[in-house]
Symmetry: C2
Amino acid sequence: MVDAPGTPIALHRLPEVLTAEPARLRALSHLRRFRREQDIYVQEERTDTWYRVVSGAACKYLMRTDGRRQLVDIYLPGDLFGFTARLLHRFAVQAVAEGTLIACYPRHRVEALAEEDAETALEIRIQIVEALERLQEQLLVTTTMTAQEKVREFLFYFHRRLSTGTGNGLALPISRYDIADILGISAETVCRAFTDLQERGVISLLGPRRIRINRR
Amino acid sequence: MVDAPGTPIALHRLPEVLTAEPARLRALSHLRRFRREQDIYVQEERTDTWYRVVSGAACKYLMRTDGRRQLVDIYLPGDLFGFTARLLHRFAVQAVAEGTLIACYPRHRVEALAEEDAETALEIRIQIVEALERLQEQLLVTTTMTAQEKVREFLFYFHRRLSTGTGNGLALPISRYDIADILGISAETVCRAFTDLQERGVISLLGPRRIRINRR
DNA sequence: CGCCCAATTGAACTGCATCAAGATTCGTGG
DNA sequence: CCACGAATCTTGATGCAGTTCAATTGGGCG
């Protein structure tokens, strides 16, 4: 246990993603850094905090009775998560990338702010709706596409969300197994899809965790 | 075209589902009745209205390039839908039951009300979050379960949402094809699951659209 | 009563999971 | 800096759940 859960981080050097949110909302947050597979919150935990990914990636998941982990959503920099209508969390969220940085907001203070500040209320509503639409897109992907189409769609999505414009390809923050769990297919099938897509010239594998997208 | 799209309905005899919402929100609504497969709103339509199912059922769907209809969510009495962060709708919503009754809310007036009335803002946030959680459950169902488990889970969900306590079984408002599209399986597989579940004694088929749930 | 759509059943095919065995990469400590 | 071990990633072979195509039955409504 090198890192205690959610080590607090100094607030200087604010990453760019945080500067986009309203200052009054940002003032309520504090930052924590998480290791890979470290839980940000767990099932049955009280829903008294909201979170936003600053850097890295996190995923919402459920432990199945057979011991396997089922992913329901994946959060990338800028995404707000942790809100619910319940008292206790139905799903857990853990970091999938090493050193994932998370901004934490005390729920009651955010809701109090939303009650008096319409801009904050709108920002929250937009974030929740965006989570909803991400989920709809994912549902569309997992129910209608073949395994290869799922992987292709997933890579395009990551490219849209993460491309830095540096041109040395796209760095995937997550493993094949994570990708498989998100798409509802096996890790082996993900591998085969990667190689097939490369043979078709759609992508180039620069390394296991680094790819280039050639064409859509 | 017997019925023009969204025939207005008199406001007397308000169904029970509407009495639960805040009076100030209800005051903004007007009712419309829809026929089976009639669109409530379509893709690319402006997102200037929100809706709530009063009776019957509706589904959110997308027309695929191969002409097939892909369902993303299903709305039952009490569910609020139509909100988005976009200017235009990405998905369409149509009635799946004959004579589905929908309450319509002008978006700008609801948002203006939400801005000054914290209770309304909270009600909206809760509804959106509930849509989100429905979708997460559905994602879990479609990605992890076998076809027969999906159908069983679907029937139990409908039972929870629609059971009237009359005891003559559960009336399904939608066709096998609709069920298949929601669960991401073929209609034939849905049929086979129905008969298998009956043979196992889990359900009884009283008619094509009427079942009884015997045990879980 | 007869038509039409919905529901059901059957048979052959296929994409993906699963099991198994290597190949690479990465982190860790010497 | 290098070497070792443990993940992670890749590739192959087999089996099966579910799709697809096709035909038949059944119900509801004019």
